[in-house]
Structure formats: structure tokens, C-alpha cells
């Protein structure tokens, strides 16, 4: 057994805190609107992401209403349906999950957790948010232009994305979509530079890489991946804009539309798929890695136990990040690729299950014999583990070429990716909000509303997506507006679809309760104090709650230990904060 008693602390010189030049706000506008404080930017990012996410939530209700009760709602025409699924997917993946995890949690947690006063380039950080907001506004604008938003599917595959049969294809919809994506990527790159360089350069004294909380590791690695993967989407978007606006043929093959030969010719739609998925697959892990990191911290804190296998967790995060760049073509098994390529990509896809499984084991082993507090963050964390395992297992099915080919483009795929990168990361987001809300506001979220929110969301998500696997196995394709009278479509299938729809509406209602809770608790929540969860990481040790501009008062904290010192034998409490010099007296002679 490893010796868990800390070694004696050597003499540590007084903290030499470099005089950091912070831009101090001078007016209401620069304090709350054009703020350069990472915490304010984080809340702006989160607010915008959640707001546009609610739009996507409503879209999902409309999609489900059509699928559950086909023919009942006249306004959901096939065109509208395609627009709904496209916008739902794009918003959820890019504008909600990516922006919330990296722009929201990244901005809030990185400087606080590594002991920095702010991001290293605060001005660029502010620009990042405003460009993101512009991207969201351009996206929203596409709902109001003639023809409406694009209905090309969230993957925007050419040639259909820019032909006249697709909603928005020959109108402004697709153009606004591509412009919005390009803006998002530019904005993200600005923010991403900050997150990476702050982790590299902004760490306080004693905060070695291996003492960083796994949350920071997750967000850091995901940001590096995003910086390298998003350019692929940028290239694809720019080239498609050329095809659409200038008539080039990067992606467009020769086409006959309504009996008329189009001017395009010779381009390759497969080229687009390569570029798109070179971004698209890392994107899955860009969303998953921050979730992995955050959930590790939630589990450790709320089970009062150090994370099992910290080193292995770090290696797994880095390993998954690197591997995720060589699996992209498993999204393209049915694109007519060379069978050997399929074999290669199936192999890499299955290999990535190894580090992922290591992480799952480590979470479970952290819970093992822990002092599990079933707080709201813990409930959501456990919900995440279960859901992620579920979604991951169906991923093993789809990663194999022979199994994927018949399942490709069925509702099984939809159920799989909603489990693994929809529900699972969202669980973590909820858990993280319940966990860090007290730090952001000084008040706890209401427990009963939270319990209602968790149980309805958790059970409801399974009521939605478990049956959906079955729907897919029967052969129901995704993206179909109506199933018609195919022989495999039985009455029970219709009933099942109606059931899923009802479950989706109920889960949606639970989110309304959650939103209400957020606003209600801001004034009426129980006061939390500075460290309600008795957590070890630096953000809980700030002198003020919510932390002020500059985060740590006069002197930056010195870090003496890793971030998981729970239940250390002999320690005065069951946790030791990272800046707690125990068993020595604090530096500077303060008692």
C-alpha cells in the first residue's frame, strides 16, 4: 500500500507574485458587458449557449411531435422537419456543447483552478465571446430569411446541401449557416489560445501539471484538439461557400436537377465528408473530454475519496485526444471506401475504447468504498457513468464495419450518439452547474427542484433513447419525415414512437423547472459559504464568493499538494485544500 501520509514540507520561500496588470473595469458597461474578466465572459458564454440550446430543445419537441404523431401538425412540413433536425443537431453539438464546455466552464474554471488572476490574453478572450455571439446571431438570423434555415442535415453533406431541393439550399439558409460556422471557429480559436496558454503559462507556484485537477486536464486537452480540428470544418465551410456563391466545383459533381444540367462538374462529395469528419470525430471527444474531467472531480469530491488512478486518468485523456484524430472515417463506412481503410478505421475505433474503459473503471473504483454523498452533482455524475457506458457499448457495434453497414443511417445511430454525446455530457453539465453554482452566486440551488430535475431527466432520457435503439434495429431510417406504409412498420412501432414523444416532452418540462431553479435560487437559495462541498481545488479557496476580479485577493495561492487529498489520516479535516501546507504552518507565519 502506498504511504498516504504527506512528507514534511521543506521551507518554502514567500510567494513571489508577479505584478499582473489587470484591466480594471471603469464603468458598468466594461464590468458586465464588455468585460475582460474571464468569469464574466464565462457567464456570458454560458448564458448565450443555454439560450440558443433552449431553441434547439424546442426544435427537438417539434421533431418528436412529427415522429410520434405524424400527420397531426400541419405546420411541420417535410421542409420544416428537415430544418428542425438540421438546426437541432448543429446548435446542440457546436453552439451549445462546445461553447458551454470550453467557453463557459473553461473560462470560469481554468484561471481559478490553476491559480491565475485571469486568462493570459483578456482582451482576446473578450473578443472571442463577442464573435461567438455574432455567430449565434447569424445562425438565428437564418430562421428569418426567405426560405428559412438550411435543412441539409447537421452534416451539411454536398451536393444536396446547396441544391434547390433542400430547404435553404439555393436561398440564404446555407450561406448563413456556413458563415456562422466560420465565425464560430474564428471566435473559438481566440478563446482556445487563451485556455491553452493559461494552462501552460498561468499556473501558480507549485501547480505542476500533475497537480492540476482533471477538469483542467480535460478542458485543456479538448481545447488543443479543437484548435487542430476546427480548421477542417473551416476549410470545408469556405470551400462550400465557394461552390455555392462562385460556382466552383470543389465538392459538386456533375448534376442534373429537374431535367436541367447544372454548371457544376467533377467535384467530390467524399472530399467534404473527409474534411467534415476530420473535424466531426474529434468534436465528439472535444465534448467528452471536459465531461470526463469534470465528472472525475465531482465523483472524487462527493465520495470524499481521492480519484483512483490519477496518472492513468491523465494518460487516458491525452491518449484519447491523440487517437481521436485517426478514427474519423468510421463515419463513412457506407461511402464506398476501400475495405482496407474500413478495417484500419474499425481497428483504431476499437482501440480508443481501451483508454475510455480505463476511465470508466477508475470512476467506479473511486466510488468503491467511498463515503458517497448523494448530492445533486453526485447523482448527475453517476447518471453520466451509466449513460456513457450504455452509449459506449452501442458504439462498439457501430465501430465494426459489418455491423455498421446495416445499421447505418437508422434510428439506432441516433439513439447511440444521443446517449453517448448528448445525454451523457449534458448530465455532466447539469452536475457541474449544481456543483459550481454556489461559487458563482454564493447560494445553493434548490434541492427539491434539483431532485425532480434529476430523476425526470435521467429516467426520461432512458425512456426516450432505449426504445429508440429498438426502433432503429427494426430498420426505421433516420431523417425521414414520415414512415409511410413500409411492411416493417407495425402498430407497436407507432405506439413506441408516440411514447418516446411523450417522454421527450416531459423531459423538456423538467428543463424548464431547472431554468426556473437557476433564477429563483439566485435570490432565494440557501447561502452556501465559500466551500459548501468541502472541496480541495483552488476555486473553493478564494477569499470572496463569488470571486472578485483578480480571483485571489492580494497574493496568489501556493500549491502544496495534488487536488485529491481527501480523508488523509491525521489531518484536521477530511480534506486538505491544495494550498494547505499541513502539517507545516502556512508560509508567512500566519496561524
Amino acid at each position: 500500500m502506498a504511504d498516504a501520509t504527506p512528507h514534511a514540507v521543506d521551507d518554502i520561500p514567500a510567494a513571489e507574485v508577479p505584478d499582473v496588470e489587470l484591466y480594471h473595469p471603469k464603468s458598468w458597461w466594461t464590468k458586465y458587458v464588455f468585460s475582460q474578466d474571464a468569469k464574466v465572459i464565462a457567464i456570458q458564454y454560458s448564458g448565450t449557449a443555454i439560450a440558443i440550446g433552449l431553441v434547439a430543445l424546442v426544435l427537438s419537441w417539434l421533431i418528436r411531435l412529427q415522429l410520434g404523431f405524424p400527420g397531426t401538425f400541419d405546420f411541420i412540413t417535410p421542409e420544416a422537419y428537415y430544418q428542425f433536425i438540421t438546426m437541432h443537431g448543429m446548435i446542440m453539438v457546436v453552439y451549445l456543447l462546445t461553447a458551454l464546455f470550453l467557453g463557459g466552464f473553461g473560462n470560469y474554471l481554468i484561471p481559478l483552478m490553476v491559480g491565475a488572476r485571469d486568462m493570459v490574453f483578456p482582451y482576446v478572450n473578450m473578443l472571442s465571446f463577442w464573435i461567438y455571439l455574432l455567430a449565434v446571431l447569424v445562425l438565428v438570423a437564418s430562421f428569418f430569411v426567405p426560405g428559412g434555415p438550411t435543412g441539409a442535415g447537421w452534416t451539411l453533406y454536398p451536393p444536396q446541401a446547396i441544391t434547390s431541393g433542400t430547404p435553404g439550399g439555393q436561398q440564404a439558409g446555407i450561406i448563413l449557416m456556413l458563415v456562422s460556422l466560420a465565425l464560430f471557429i474564428i471566435g473559438f480559436t481566440m478563446g482556445g489560445l487563451n485556455y491553452v496558454v493559461t494552462v501552460l503559462q498561468g499556473r501558480t507556484r507549485g501547480m505542476t501539471l500533475m497537480r492540476m485537477p482533471l477538469t483542467v486536464w480535460g478542458i485543456f486537452t479538448a481545447t488543443v484538439m479543437a484548435l487542430l480540428a476546427f480548421p477542417a470544418l473551416f476549410v470545408a465551410a469556405v470551400m462550400m461557400l465557394f461552390d455555392r456563391l462562385l460556382g466552383t466545383s470543389f465538392f459538386m459533381p456533375a448534376l442534373v436537377e429537374f431535367g436541367e444540367q447544372l454548371e457544376y462538374g467533377g467535384g467530390s462529395p467524399i472530399l467534404f465528408q473527409h474534411l467534415f469528419w476530420f473535424f466531426g470525430h474529434p468534436e465528439v471527444y472535444i465534448v467528452a473530454l471536459p465531461a470526463f474531467g469534470i465528472v472525475s472531480d465531482l465523483i472524487s469530491t462527493h465520495a470524499r475519496k481521492n480519484i483512483f488512478g490519477y496518472r492513468m486518468m491523465v494518460w487516458a485523456i491525452v491518449g484519447i485526444g491523440a487517437l481521436s484524430f485517426i478514427v474519423w472515417a468510421h463515419h463513412m463506412y457506407v461511402s464506398g471506401m476501400d475495405p482496407y481503410f474500413g478495417f484500419f478505421f474499425a481497428t483504431t475505433t476499437l482501440i480508443i475504447a481501451v483508454p475510455t474503459a480505463i476511465k470508466v473503471y477508475n470512476w467506479v473504483l473511486t466510488l468503491w468504498r467511498g463515503d458517497i454523498h448523494l448530492t445533486l452533482p453526485m447523482l448527475f455524475a453517476i447518471g453520466f457513468i451509466v449513460t456513457f457506458v450504455n452509449g459506449g457499448l452501442t458504439g462498439l457495434f457501430l465501430g465494426n464495419v459489418v455491423v455498421d453497414v446495416p445499421l447505418s443511417d437508422t434510428m439506432f445511430v441516433v439513439a447511440h450518439f444521443h446517449m453517448v454525446m448528448g445525454v451523457a455530457p449534458i448530465m455532466v453539465i447539469f452536475g457541474a452547474i449544481y456543483h459550481w453554482y454556489p461559487k458563482m452566486t454564493g447560494r445553493m440551488l434548490n434541492e427539491w427542484m434539483g431532485q425532480f430535475h434529476f430523476w425526470v431527466t435521467f429516467i426520461g432520457a432512458y425512456a426516450i433513447f432505449f426504445p429508440m435503439h429498438y426502433v432503429g434495429l427494426v430498420g426505421v431510417p433516420r431523417r425521414y419525415h414520415e414512415l409511410g406504409d413500409a411492411s416493417f412498420v407495425t402498430d407497436s412501432l407507432h405506439n413506441l414512437n408516440a411514447f418516446i414523444t411523450v417522454a421527450a416532452l416531459i423531459v423538456g418540462f423538467a428543463q424548464v423547472v431547472f431554468m426556473f431553479n437557476i433564477f429563483w435560487s439566485m435570490r432565494n437559495g440557501k447561502e452556501s459559504g465559500g466551500n459548501p462541498w468541502r472541496a480541495t481545488t483552488l476555486e473553493w479557496q478564494t477569499p470572496a464568493t463569488p470571486p472578485e476580479h483578480g480571483n485571489f485577493g492580494k497574493e496568489l495561492p501556493i500549491v502544496y499538494r495534488w487536488s485529491y487529498d481527501f480523508s488523509v489520516p491525521g489531518a484536521p479535516e477530511d480534506y486538505l485544500a491544495q494550498n494547505d501546507p499541513w502539517p507545516n504552518a502556512p508560509a508567512g507565519g500566519k496561524a
Binding site: F121, V197, L228, I326
Partner: protein, 234 residues
Amino acid sequence: MIAILLFLAVIFLIAGWWLSRQGLMSKPWLETGATGLAPGREAVNLPASKVGLGVFLAVVGALFALFISAYFMRMELPDWRTLPMPRILWLNTGTLVLNSIALHFAVLAARKGNLRALRQDLLAGGAAALLFLIGQGLAWDQIAAMGYFAASNPASNFFYLITGVHALHIAGGLIALARTSHRAWTRDNPERVTTSTELCTAYWHFMLAIWLVILALLAGWLNEFADICRQLLV
């Protein structure tokens, strides 16, 4: 996707080398106390702006590697016709090389604190960069005059696209160069002027390197390389 994978391999090598020096094998749960408080262990010993530029250049590199990947993949299709290279591109390359040389001397001057030489070198660098942009504009004109405009030929589409994106980056670099010059003229804090000049110069060297790769790509010198890679894969 050869180009981007090679590029990523290089990035991963650098990242792996750096990570290997960060004590990934350490056991943080046993190492309480002063570990890591020794100067130099806790962060990279460079100003944040330089690390930031390095990360940014990696992103720019990925962007161009992806364009090059797309170029190679599109090139295999039957409607590809190789583009004649306008001669002026050679002249443009020359101006970009001149720019890099001038900026290199600017860094030397800034480090020595020779403000006059610094200003001259920055000015020369900026002028060379402007000439490059004008030259690129002329090259675009010549290609259009040869009848290869826009929709007619994928090779010319790529020519416009890639040189256009490169020119945008050059224009962005000019803005940074203008800010640096402004600092050099207003006698800002000499340390900041030096850092600023160094950052600018690194960026422009990188842009020159990218341009040389683009030139080799458009002139067809990289085709054989792509063929070899393809044969390795199949």
C-alpha cells in the same frame, strides 16, 4: 488527408516531447510540499505572448495542411488540369524573402537597442510585404487573363483559394507589423518593442515557409511526394 496527418504527427511529436518533460510519471499523491516550487518547473520559461504565437501558428499550419490535403484529394479526379504558373510568382517569392531578411535584421537591431536601424528594417520589411501583396494581385490578374477564372478549372479555384487565404494572413501580419512599428516610433518600453519585433518576425518567417510550401504545391513539385504517400497507403 496525408498532409494534415503528417502535420499532426509533427505537432504530436512536439507535444509528446514537451509532455515527457512535465513529470507525467510522477506520483502526485505522494509528493506533498515543495515539489514543483523550484523555478522553471511550474511553467514554460517563455513570455505568454510567445507561447501564444506558437499555438496560433500551429492552428494556422493545420489550416493550410488541410487545404493542401483537399488539394491532393481533388487533384486525383479526372477533370483536373494543371495550371501554368505566372512568372511573377518568383518575383513575389523574392519580395517575401526580402521581408524575412529585413525583419531578421530588425530583431538583431531591437536586441541591440539600435532604434534607428530597427525602424529602417521594419519599414523595409513592411514595404516588401506590401510589394508581395501587390504582386499576388497581379498574379491573380494574369491567371484570369489566361482564361482560368473561377468556375472553369479546379486547379485555378484552388490557386485563388489558397493564395487568397495566405494573402489574408499576410494582411493580418501587416497590421501586427504596423503596430510594432508604431511602438518603435513612439519609443515604447524597449523590452516590449523587442518582444513585439520578435513575435512579428516569427510570424513572418512562418508565412514565408508556408508560402514556399504553397508555391511547391501549385508548381506541382509536391505531386510526386503525394504519389509516394498514396502508394504507401494502398
